[in-house]
């Protein structure tokens, strides 16, 4: 059953491609990282530079929603890691956008 597209965000707070929350989840998908490492990973993998306010605003929302959890601080930096719910949310977003990308590639004849 297909769900109707909505302009706003879903209950997980993730709806738009390029949504900072999704980029943070993507950065954490291969292991725990602290704030600076998340920014560096997002920049390296997607070319998008997350501002410091956007990064910590997203992290706090993801923690509130139970998608990410904070680990014990290492020196003055605190690493964050995905929860099971966060992994599910990211997998759902990736599945949705994989279909969008596949359709775009096919219709634009991109190899």
């Amino acid at each position: 059953m297909h769900r109707m597209a909505r302009q706003g965000r879903d209950e997980g707070g993730l709806a738009r491609f390029g949504e900072p929350g999704m980029l943070v989840l993507l950065a954490l998908s291969d292991g725990a990282k602290h704030g600076y490492a998340i920014t560096a990973d997002v920049l390296e993998q997607t070319g998008i530079r997350l501002g410091p306010g956007t990064l910590y605003g997203s992290l706090s929302k993801l923690v509130d929603r139970g998608l990410v959890t904070a680990l014990a601080a290492e020196e003055r930096r605190r690493p964050y890691e995905l929860t099971e719910a966060g992994r599910e949310a990211l997998a759902a977003q990736v599945a949705t956008w994989s279909r969008v990308v596949a359709t775009g590639r096919a219709r634009l004849s991109i190899a």
Binding site: R3, A5, R6, R9, D10, E11, G12, L14, A15, H34, G35, Y36, G51, P52, G53, T54, L55, Y56, G57, L59, S60, D64, R65, G66, L67, R76, R77, R78, A85, E88, A89, A92, Q93, A95, T96
Partner: protein, 134 residues
């Protein structure tokens, strides 16, 4: 103004509870990189946004209460009613009653959304709701 003072000022834009949890990390990150204009704008935008979001429900309730009080005083002053609520049996009384109640609809919706969000979070944390795609 020194960079340290500017960073402290920027972090203070965030709600107190948020600062307790994330303020030190944000301060550390801002101090470890060049403080560009875009970084400052980004922090200001996020901090003010979180502050407004945190007060959304409370401000709506305050606005609704203030509106109702003002309309009630006006209605009593103009001898439209002697009571808190009244029958809308004339156009003036109907309009005033509608105005009295108008602030409560958005306030009630905001409270309902807030309760729903909190319940969903609790249910998700207890594992009874899975995260859905958009």
């Amino acid at each position: 103004m020194s960079t340290r003072s500017l960073i402290n000022l920027l972090v203070r834009l965030f709600p107190r509870a948020w600062r307790v949890e994330y303020g030190a990390e944000l301060r550390e990150m801002l101090g470890s990189q060049r403080l560009t204009l875009s970084a400052i704008v980004d922090v200001v935008r996020t901090g003010v946004g979180l502050r407004l979001a945190g007060h959304n429900v409370a401000w709506r309730l305050i606005f609704a209460a203030a509106t109702s009080t003002a309309v009630e005083l006006f209605a009593v002053h103009r001898h439209l009613t002697d009571n808190i609520l009244w029958l809308p049996d004339t156009p003036a009384r109907a309009a005033t009653l509608a105005l009295l109640c108008s602030g409560w609809a958005p306030a009630t919706i905001a409270v309902g959304k807030n309760v729903h969000r909190r319940l969903t979070r609790v249910r998700r944390q207890s594992g009874s709701v899975s995260v859905r795609d958009s």
